[in-house]
Symmetry: C2
Subunit: 334 residues, 2 copies
């Protein structure tokens, strides 16, 4: 089963021609508290484990899609070359939703996440593109179907279809029809996420390649799925009880375990920079001083902080170079 | 069963009074290629897994023991206070071998390992002390018995009783009578170990506490014993065939996996400094240039290099601040 068949299965008989002049959408970026690390199916981006994320409020991608003379991708106001890897990936994604190549589309996407924050923009990008296509083609698909489609563009995009806490079910289906993210119906207005802006470092390998290598070579990875399962249970409980210490501790442990499996891969995968260690030590020192401050990290050197409003000023003081995100700024997620 | 009973079991009816004026011995330090990480018995230093090491030639401890007015420990010419942790540990160790407290001993130990190399001196120290006590009391114990006794001072001291490659069997016996190290009867004259001298960093937790925490809290640790088992098989094969790439790759992977389990512990254990990452990246870059150069690390920020004579000058050039050890300088280990 390939991506085309899977997309056809989701779209069923729905339109593959534009129903209006253009499609528009916003999708938030998201950060996993329990990570997606390792695929059971590379083609469909089906994960080995479930994962759980929090969206980043109004940080994300605003995307417009409209028919054009040729496929074009405009990212933050700049048109990318057709043979740019990002363009190729975006055009290959829209191929899933059009018949033949008669229809050409212009994708205009604005992503408001600072590059130095090290938050992957592909999740927001593919989610917003999926939502914009839904708008353009008039599919009116349910979030579950949209999550399945977005997943085929970028795994973590499955979790960017709606805001708030999202649980992406690993699923068992070979075609991935049960592998989608759904919202956890809880808000946490005092929760804060801090993006520590680091300098750009040496270029590391991509996360797709890194997770493939981990799954293929890390002996410790065999204990990872069970850990994620337990961590998801703990984080869900922490969300229900608004317990920042359980949430933070579980998320930090989960992120460090993911980096641990990378280190255990061959050749070893190490995304950390010298500065990463400094930030980690600083966080641990502040925790010794009774701050409820925890970290999470993705496939890069950057550190993201988890805390609540109560500690926000202390955190700002300790990390002057921080951008603080309020995931539930408007109360309920829509 | 405690240490006293275990020591009595080994010594059986042998002397607990000096048979000569003083006992003297040298024991080499050793570096594990397959690590000792986690105890199944804290009191007897019985390990969860077997481990495999290489001794550091003439780097180690020269120790003299002789009767004195009171217990004294002189380390590198300086007498330590009686309530110093190192003194307390040494005196508690000699308690295993004397009846009551009538006999007082002066331990004079010279350890020629540069502190900045980050090679634990406790292995060489307790092994040399055990050998010196054997000399003083005239036990004439076999290396196997000496290894069992040294282990009770410091686990890795079990591997410092004789030079060369040493395999420490985890054993099954509750009293630890089958948990000793024995030499692997192979030499490798062209093998080199590079000690990269790092600045002293922040004080981290001790390895005893770190391995306890790992065993108690790391989910990934459950996959560690099997990995060590496979790594030991691979290293033994590499030694037999003089294959630096298999040896190095296996040792590096094993060391990074050990650090991975620390990272996965709670609270996380991170011995690395910013400089550690720089050294790792440098080694990986040199490997890209076809140098057969690998690393190992212990419970500290320091990096030790594994290579052969063929690459020694290239390694010296890349790491001006290195001390190169030749484990088999005199051909066969004695």
């Amino acid at each position: 089963l390939n991506r085309f068949e899977a997309a056809r299965h989701v779209l069923d008989g729905t339109a593959r021609e534009p129903q209006r002049e253009q499609g528009c959408a916003f999708a938030p970026s998201n950060i996993a508290l329990c990570k997606y690390w390792g695929k059971r199916n590379e083609e469909l981006n089906l994960p080995v484990t479930s994962s759980l994320s929090i969206s980043l409020g109004d940080l994300g991608a605003h995307t417009t899609v409209k028919p054009a003379e040729k496929d074009r991708l405009i990212l933050n106001g700049r048109e990318l070359a057709a043979n740019d890897k990002i363009s190729e990936r975006a055009f290959a994604f829209i191929d899933l939703f059009r018949t033949g190549t008669a229809l050409r589309l212009e994708i205009d996407s604005t992503i408001n996440i600072p590059v130095a924050a090290g938050v992957a923009s592909s999740a927001a990008g593919f989610a917003a593109l999926t939502l914009a296509l839904d708008d353009l083609f008039g599919w009116n698909l349910a979030p579950r179907q949209l999550s399945i489609l977005a997943r085929m563009g970028s795994g973590s995009a499955a979790r960017s279809i709606t805001p708030g806490f999202m649980l992406w079910h690993a699923g068992n289906d070979e075609q991935g029809m049960d592998s989608y993210a759904e919202p956890i119906q809880e808000t946490w207005p005092t929760l804060r996420i801090g993006l520590v802006l680091l300098c750009e470092g040496e270029k590391a390998i991509g996360s797709r390649e890194a997770m493939k290598r981990t799954r293929g070579t890390s002996a410790l990875y065999q204990a990872w799925p069970r850990k994620v399962y337990e961590d998801i249970t703990a984080v869900r409980h922490a969300i229900e009880t608004r317990d920042i210490d359980i949430l933070g501790r579980t998320a930090e442990s989960n992120a460090l375990a993911m980096h641990a499996t990378m280190l255990d891969s061959w050749p070893p995968v190490l995304y950390w920079q010298a500065e990463t260690i400094e930030v980690l030590r600083k966080v641990w020192a502040l925790r010794e001083e009774d701050l409820s401050l925890y970290i999470t990290m993705d496939a890069g050197p950057n550190v993201k902080l988890l805390f609540t409003e109560a500690d926000a000023s202390a955190v700002s003081e300790a990390f002057p170079n921080i951008q603080i995100v309020t995931p539930f700024a408007n109360g309920d997620p829509d």
